[in-house]
C-alpha cells in the first residue's frame, strides 16, 4: 500500500477508485457481522463462492462480506447489486437459486424477500422495508455497503475527507467550535456535550495528551458500537484522528472488550492499513501532526466502562474507579490530560466536519443534535439496529421500526440504559427519546440498548437480574455498592422466591436512595435505577409477589408449578387434568377441573384461555389446545363426580345478588363449605352474561344449564326475577336474617355513542340486542343492513347474531385498526369468514334518519395519532371526507357499564366515580358483611376473572362468618399429580389438534353451535402434547 502524503493525493486516489469501479459490476453482499454469523452467514458466503466457481463466474461476480445492515433478526441478509435486491434469512440451500435467478437473470426470488408483517406485502429493496423507512441512517449509512476490511472502500465513499478538511483548513479551535455548535452529546450514556469536553482537554496544560475510544460496550443488550467497529472501523478511526488533532493529543487507545473478537480483528486491520497509508503515524497527510493509535483489550469487567476504571485498566492495573475530580481532562492516563469518548460519539465526528454543524444540529432536538443508534432487542419482531433523530417517539421505534411485539403479545415496557437505566411502561409510549425526557421518566439514554419486555417479562425478576449483574460486576472498592447492592439483591431474591414481606418495597427504596447518594462511581450510583423505575411503574407486580406470592408474568419459577396454571385466574390445575386425559382417566380429569371451576363446558367454549398463551409448547410448535381439552372432558363425562364438600353444615344465611359466573361460583364454593346460599337474579334466567350476552352459536343454552344445575345440586337456591333495588333491598334481606352478602350484578348497561340521531328507531345497545336474541330468539329482528359500532367481543357477537337473524349486510365500524381490536382473534376471523364487513379507522359522526327511523350512519374516517395511556395510538379524525353507509339498524357496542348504583340503593357500599363497587384484594367492600366481585367491580371483563372473584368472595365470607376457625380450603392446596411421568421420554412431535366447524353456509341457517367438540381419541392424543412443566425434578 502506498503512502498518502497529502490531501491532494487522497483526493486523486479517491477519483481513481471511483473511476475504476464499474457501476454495473455484479456484487453479492452478505452480512458478515456477528449477528448474521450466528445465523450462519459464513457458510452462506462459502456457498456463494463455491457456486460462482462451479458456474465459472468467479471472475465476474464479487462476493463481499459487509458489516451489519441492521435487520439482524432476519439474517443472514444478502443484497444483490447493482439492483439492490434485499434477501433475508438466506440459507446455503437458497444460494443456487439466487445465483441462477438474480445474479444471472436479474430476476427476483420472491420467497426470500421481506414480508411486511402487517400488510403481507413483499419488499424488493431495502427502501421498501418499513424497518428502514423512518430511520435516518447517517452513522450507519455505509454499514452493509462497504467491505470493512478495505480502506479503499471507505476512501472511495468519501472516507477521510473530513480529516483532510480538518487538517487543510481548520484550526483546532475551529474544529472544537464546530463540534460544540453541532450539539453533539456523548453517546455512551451520560450525554455530556462533546465539544465542551474537547475544549477542557484542549485547554489543559501539558505537552503529552491522550484520546481514548471507550469501546467497552458493557451494557448487556447494546451492540451498536460492536457493529460500528465491525462494519465501518475507519469511520471511528477518522473521528479519533480529527479529535486528537483538535485536542492536541499524540497518542490514542481504543479500549475494546474481548467479547467482540470480530470487532477487534477489523479494528486492528483498519489501524494497520491506516498506518501503512500514512493516515496514522508521523506527519499525517503532510500536516506535521503525529498520532499513534493502539488497541487495548478489556478483559471482561463491566466497571471498566467507567472512565476512571478504564484508564486504570489501560495502565495495566485492576479496573477500580477513583473519585472525580480530577477529571480525565486534567489528569487522565499516567496523569496526563485525556479525552474519552465512546465509539458512536467518535463515529459522528467525520459527519459533522463534512456536513457542517448547522446541518447536523438541525437533526434531533433543540438541545441535542444528530441521531442515536438503538439496539432494538428482546420481545420485538424486528430486532436489530435502528438509527433515528434524537427526539423520536418511543412508540414509533417500537411499532414502526420494530414491527411490534413478537407472537401477538402485549407490550409491557422498554428497558433503556441497561443496569444504569430504567424501564418505560406503555403509558409513556408517546415519550420522545432524548436525554431530558428519559431522565424525567427514570430511565437514561445510556449507550442505546433498548430491550423490549412483553407480558411474559416479570419486572421484579428483571430488577433482580440487573441487581445480580451489578453485584457480580461491582469492583468492591466502595461499601455502598459492594454491600448495599447485595442487600438489595437479597431482598429481591426473597421476593422472587415468594418470601417477600410487607415493608420490603420501602426498604428497597431507602437503600436505593442511599446507594445513589454515596457510591463512588457511576456504576454504583446508577445501580438502583432499574429497581426504582420498576417499583415506580409496576408496584402492583411487586405487591402480587409479596402479598399473594404470585408472579403474574409467570417468570419467577418458585412461585408456581406450571405456567398455564399460574396464568389461569382461577388457578385451575391444567397439567393435572391434561395428564389425566392423556391417560384416558376422564372422570378424574373433570373432577380436577370442578375442584376450582364449576364451569368446565362453558369455559371450554368461551374462555380467553390465558393458559394457552403461556404454554411452553408455543416455543416448539403451538400451545396445547387446553380449552378444547377442557371442553371435551366437560362434555364427555356424563355423570360428573361431586366436588369435595365439607361434612359439617354452616347454618348462616348468605345472599348472593346476581346469578352470573361470579355469583354462581361464589355460591358453589359456599355450598362446598356447608352453607346453603340463596342467589337472587333480576332476569328470568340464571347465568348472567353467559346466558344473555353470549349467543347460542358460541354457547348453547343446555350446556350452561347443565352446569348451573350442577351448582344447584349442591344445595344452592336460585331465585330469578328478583331485582335488588326494585324487588328487595340489602336492608330487607338483612331483616330476613341474611348475615352476609356477595354482590355480583355484572355490567349490563350499554354506553351511549353520544352523537346526533341516537334516539332514532333502529338504534340499539348491543347488551339489549344480545339479551333479546338470547331470551326471545323467535321475536327478535335485526335490520336489513346493520352497522355495529365497537371492537370488543360484544360487537362481534352482535354482528354475527344480526347476520343469523337475516341481515343482508353487516358492518363493524371500529375507530382503530384490526391489531388494536380487543375482541378475540378467532372471533374476528370467524366473523370475517361469515361475510361481516369490517371498516377500520372509522367512527360514526351522526346517525341519519328518514323520519323516525334510521336510514344511514355518517362515518368519519380516522387515523392513528400519538400514543395514549393505554399504549395504543389514539384515533384522530383524518383529513378524508366523511361518508355515509346506508343502514336501517345501528348497534352500539362501545362499552358496558355496571348498574351498581341502582342495585345498592341507599346502602353505604362505596363505589367509584364510574359506578364500580370498590373492593380490596379479597373481595371485601367497606361494609364488613358485604362482599363483591366480577364485572360490577372490575368493569366488563372475562368470565374466568368473574369465576376467580367468586371463589375469593366465598372464602372471604367464610372467614367473616367464622373468624375464629382456621380452615383449610382444600382446592387451594397443591396436589401432586399421581400420573406417571418419564422425564427422559421425548416429547411427542405432532402438532396441535384441529377442531371441526360448521361451514359458513350451515351457520347462517340459525344459531347452531359453530365449533365442534373433539373426539376422545383426539383429546388423548392432544393431551399427550403437554410438556409436563409441573414435573421439575429430573430424576424420579
Amino acid at each position: 500500500m502506498t503512502r498518502i502524503a497529502t490531501p491532494a493525493e487522497l483526493d486523486s486516489l479517491r477519483r481513481s477508485l471511483i473511476q475504476a469501479r464499474d457501476p454495473n459490476r455484479r456484487v453479492i453482499a452478505v452480512c458478515g457481522g456477528t449477528g448474521c454469523r450466528a445465523s450462519g452467514s459464513l457458510s452462506v458466503i462459502g456457498a456463494f463462492r463455491e457456486e460462482l466457481r462451479d458456474q465459472g463466474l468467479d471472475g465476474e461476480v464479487d462476493v463481499v462480506a459487509t458489516g451489519c445492515p441492521g435487520l439482524c433478526e432476519r439474517g443472514p441478509i444478502v443484497v444483490i447489486r447493482p439492483q439492490g435486491i434485499f434477501y433475508e434469512r438466506v440459507t446455503v440451500e437458497d444460494v443456487s437459486a439466487i445465483v441462477g435467478e438474480s445474479v444471472l437473470k436479474g430476476e427476483v426470488v420472491e420467497r426470500l424477500l421481506h414480508v411486511d408483517p402487517e400488510t403481507g406485502r413483499r419488499a424488493t429493496f431495502k427502501e421498501d422495508i418499513r424497518f428502514y423507512q423512518k430511520q435516518k441512517r447517517f452513522v450507519l449509512d455505509q454499514n452493509g455497503i462497504i467491505d470493512p476490511t478495505s480502506i479503499n472502500d471507505y476512501i472511495e465513499l468519501g472516507g477521510y475527507s473530513a480529516l483532510c478538511k480538518a487538517l487543510r483548513g481548520m484550526t483546532p479551535g475551529e474544529i472544537i467550535e464546530e463540534i460544540s455548535a453541532s450539539k453533539l452529546r456523548g453517546r455512551g450514556g451520560a450525554g455530556f456535550p462533546t465539544g465542551l469536553k474537547w475544549r477542557f482537554c484542549h485547554e489543559a496544560p501539558g505537552e503529552t495528551k491522550y484520546v481514548v475510544c471507550n469501546a467497552d460496550e458493557g451494557d448487556p443488550g447494546a451492540y451498536m458500537d460492536d457493529s460500528l467497529m465491525e462494519g465501518n472501523p475507519h469511520r471511528v478511526l477518522e473521528g479519533m484522528i480529527i479529535g486528537a488533532y483538535a485536542i492536541g493529543a499524540q497518542y490514542g487507545f481504543v479500549y475494546i472488550r474481548n467479547e467482540y473478537p470480530l470487532a477487534v480483528e477489523h479494528l486492528q486491520m483498519a489501524i494497520d492499513e491506516a498506518e501503512a497509508c500514512g493516515l496514522l503515524g508521523k506527519d499525517i497527510l503532510g500536516s506535521g501532526f503525529d498520532f499513534t493509535l493502539e488497541i487495548r483489550l478489556g478483559s471482561g469487567a463491566f466497571v471498566c466502562g467507567e472512565e476512571t476504571a478504564l484508564m486504570a485498566s489501560i495502565e495495566g492495573r485492576i479496573g477500580e474507579p477513583r473519585p472525580r475530580p480530577p477529571f480525565p481532562a486534567q489528569s487522565g492516563l499516567w496523569g496526563k490530560p485525556t479525552n474519552i469518548n465512546n465509539v458512536e460519539t467518535w463515529a459522528n465526528v467525520p459527519i459533522i466536519i463534512n456536513r457542517g454543524a448547522e446541518w447536523y444540529s438541525s437533526q434531533g432536538t433543540e438541545r441535542s443534535g444528530g441521531t442515536k443508534i438503538f439496539s432494538l432487542v428482546g420481545k420485538i419482531n424486528n430486532t436489530g439496529l435502528v438509527e433515528v433523530p434524537i427526539g423520536t417517539a418511543l412508540g414509533d421505534i417500537i411499532y414502526d421500526m420494530g414491527g411490534g411485539i413478537r407472537g401477538g403479545k402485549r407490550f409491557k415496557a422498554a428497558q433503556l440504559g441497561g443496569p444504569s437505566g430504567g424501564c418505560i411502561p406503555k403509558e409513556h409510549l408517546d415519550a420522545t427519546v432524548d436525554y431530558a425526557t428519559l431522565q424525567e421518566l427514570g430511565a437514561i439514554m445510556g449507550s442505546g440498548g433498548l430491550v423490549v419486555c412483553d407480558e411474559d417479562t416479570c419486572m421484579v425478576d428483571l430488577a433482580r437480574y440487573f441487581l445480580s449483574f451489578v453485584q457480580e460486576e461491582s469492583c468492591g472498592k466502595c461499601i455502598p455498592c459492594r454491600v448495599g447492592t447485595q442487600a438489595m439483591l437479597d431482598t429481591l431474591e426473597r421476593i422472587c422466591a415468594g418470601e417477600g414481606r410487607e415493608g420490603d418495597i420501602e426498604y428497597l427504596i431507602e437503600l436505593a436512595s442511599e446507594i445513589k447518594r454515596s457510591a463512588l462511581c457511576g456504576l454504583g450510583q446508577t445501580a438502583p435505577n432499574p429497581v426504582l423505575t420498576t417499583i415506580r411503574y409496576f408496584r402492583d407486580e411487586y405487591e402480587a409477589h409479596i402479598r399473594d406470592k404470585r408472579c403474574p408474568a409467570g417468570a419467577c419459577q418458585e412461585l408456581f408449578v406450571s405456567p398455564c396454571q399460574n396464568a389461569c385466574p382461577a388457578g385451575t390445575d391444567v397439567p393435572l387434568y391434561t395428564s389425566l386425559i392423556a391417560e384416558g382417566r376422564f372422570t378424574e380429569a373433570v373432577a380436577a377441573i370442578l375442584d376450582t371451576n364449576p364451569f368446565p363446558s362453558v369455559c371450554g367454549r368461551v374462555c380467553h384461555h390465558p393458559c394457552e398463551a403461556k404454554c411452553r409448547r408455543n416455543q416448539t410448535d403451538a400451545a396445547v389446545s387446553i380449552r378444547q381439552l377442557k371442553r371435551f372432558v366437560g362434555d364427555h363425562v356424563e355423570n360428573r363426580p361431586l366436588p369435595s364438600v365439607t361434612s359439617r353444615a354452616n347454618p348462616a344465611k348468605v345472599a348472593i345478588v346476581g346469578a352470573g359466573p361470579s355469583g354462581l361460583t361464589c355460591a358453589y364454593f359456599l355450598a362446598r363449605m356447608g352453607y346453603r346460599p340463596t342467589v337472587f337474579e333480576k332476569l328470568p334466567v340464571a347465568g348472567g352474561m353467559l346466558a344473555v350476552g353470549i349467543p347460542d352459536y358460541r354457547l348453547p343454552r343446555d350446556v350452561l344449564e347443565r352446569e348451573i344445575q350442577g351448582i344447584e345440586a349442591l344445595g344452592v337456591e336460585i331465585v330469578t326475577n328478583t331485582s335488588l333495588g326494585q324487588d328487595t333491598t340489602l336492608a330487607q334481606l338483612q331483616g330476613q336474617g341474611y348475615e352476609a352478602f356477595y354482590i355480583a350484578t355484572g355490567a349490563h348497561g350499554g354506553r351511549r355513542l353520544g352523537i346526533a340521531g341516537e334516539e332514532l328507531q333502529g338504534v340499539v345497545q348491543a347488551v339489549d340486542f344480545l339479551r333479546d336474541v338470547n331470551l326471545s330468539p323467535g321475536e327478535t329482528r335485526a335490520g336489513r343492513r346493520v352497522a355495529v359500532v365497537g371492537g370488543g367481543n360484544a360487537a362481534i357477537d352482535a354482528a354475527r347474531s344480526a347476520l343469523r337473524l337475516g341481515a343482508e349486510r353487516v358492518y363493524v365500524l371500529y375507530r382503530r385498526t384490526r391489531s388494536e381490536m380487543p375482541a378475540q382473534a378467532e372471533e374476528i376471523e370467524a366473523a370475517q369468514a361469515e361475510g361481516i364487513e369490517f371498516r377500520f379507522l372509522v367512527t360514526p359522526a351522526a346517525i341519519v334518519g328518514d323520519g323516525e327511523k334510521v336510514s344511514a350512519v355518517e362515518c368519519q374516517p380516522m387515523e392513528l395519532g400519538e400514543y395514549d395511556r393505554s399504549g395504543r395510538r389514539r384515533p384522530i379524525p383524518a383529513q378524508d371526507d366523511p361518508f355515509q353507509l346506508e343502514v336501517d339498524m345501528v348497534v352500539a357496542a362501545i362499552s358496558q357499564s355496571p348498574e351498581a348504583t341502582d342495585a345498592l340503593g341507599d346502602s353505604d357500599v362505596e363505589t367509584t366515580a364510574g359506578g364500580l363497587i370498590k373492593i380490596d384484594g379479597n373481595g371485601c367492600t367497606n361494609l364488613p358483611n358485604v362482599f363483591a366481585g366480577g364485572d360490577v367491580c372490575s368493569g366488563p371483563s372475562l368470565a374466568i376473572n368473574a369465576i376467580a372473584a367468586g371463589e375469593k368472595g366465598a372464602v372471604a365470607i367464610d372467614q367473616y362468618l367464622n373468624p375464629d376457625e382456621t380452615r383449610i380450603y382444600s382446592w387451594r392446596q397443591m396436589r401432586p399429580a399421581d400420573v406417571p411421568f418419564d422425564p427422559g421420554a421425548k416429547a411427542v412431535e405432532y402438532g396441535r389438534c384441529q377442531t371441526s366447524e360448521l361451514t359458513v353456509a350451515e351457520r347462517s341457517a340459525g344459531f347452531r353451535e359453530v365449533e365442534g367438540t373433539i373426539s376422545a381419541d383426539t383429546a388423548v392424543r392432544e393431551a399427550r402434547r403437554c410438556l409436563r412443566c409441573d414435573c421439575r425434578e429430573t430424576e424420579m
Partner: protein
C-alpha cells in the same frame, strides 16, 4: 496444551519491557486457556511485578481463569436481551446435559461451561457459543443437538 516455561519466556520477550501486565496475561490465557500458577510466578519474576499484583489482576477480570479449561468452551450469554428471551432455561439445560455449573469443567475435560454478560449478538438471543461458533435463537431443546456436534470426539463444527 501443557505449560512450557520456555514458550512463555519468548512471549514476554517479544512484547518487550513496556508491555502492560494485562496484555501479557491475555496472551498466556489465550495460549493455554488458563493462567498456570508457574506462568504467573514467571511473569512476576520477569516483569518485576509483585506476584500479589499479578494475582490481583488475574482474579479481577473475568477473562482470566486459574483453572484449566476443557477442550470445548461452552458460553451462554446472560445479557438482558437474552435474559428476557429465556437464556436462564437454556443455561439450565446445558447444566443438566453436561452436569456441571458455570465455571466448571466436565471430569473428562471435554467441556467447560461459562456465562458471559453480552456477546453483541443481542438481536439473535438467546445466544450460546461453542468454541467460537455462535448458536442464535436458542431454546432448551436445541442444546443437546448443539453439544452433540462436539461431544462425539469429532471437531466437525469447529470454526477455525
Amino acid at each position: 496444551m501443557d505449560f512450557k516455561p520456555c514458550e512463555l519466556a519468548t512471549t514476554i520477550g517479544m512484547n518487550g519491557q513496556d508491555t502492560p501486565l494485562i496484555s501479557v496475561l491475555e496472551e498466556i490465557q489465550s495460549r493455554y486457556r488458563y493462567l498456570p500458577r508457574e506462568a504467573m510466578v514467571l511473569v512476576s519474576e520477569r516483569m518485576g511485578v509483585p506476584l500479589s499484583q499479578v494475582y490481583s489482576v488475574a482474579t479481577f477480570y473475568n477473562a482470566f481463569s486459574l483453572r484449566p479449561k476443557g477442550r470445548h468452551v461452552v458460553t451462554v450469554c446472560m445479557g438482558t436481551a437474552c435474559h428476557v428471551r429465556g437464556s436462564k432455561r437454556v443455561l439450565e439445560q446445558v447444566e443438566e446435559t453436561l452436569d456441571i455449573r458455570p465455571g466448571e469443567t466436565t471430569p473428562d475435560r471435554q467441556f467447560s461451561l461459562e456465562t458471559v454478560n453480552c456477546l453483541g449478538a443481542c438481536a439473535l438471543g438467546p445466544i450460546m457459543v461453542i468454541e467460537g461458533e455462535y448458536f442464535g435463537q436458542m431454546t432448551p431443546d436445541k442444546v443437546e443437538p448443539g453439544l452433540d456436534q462436539y461431544s462425539n470426539g469429532g471437531d466437525e463444527g469447529e470454526n477455525e
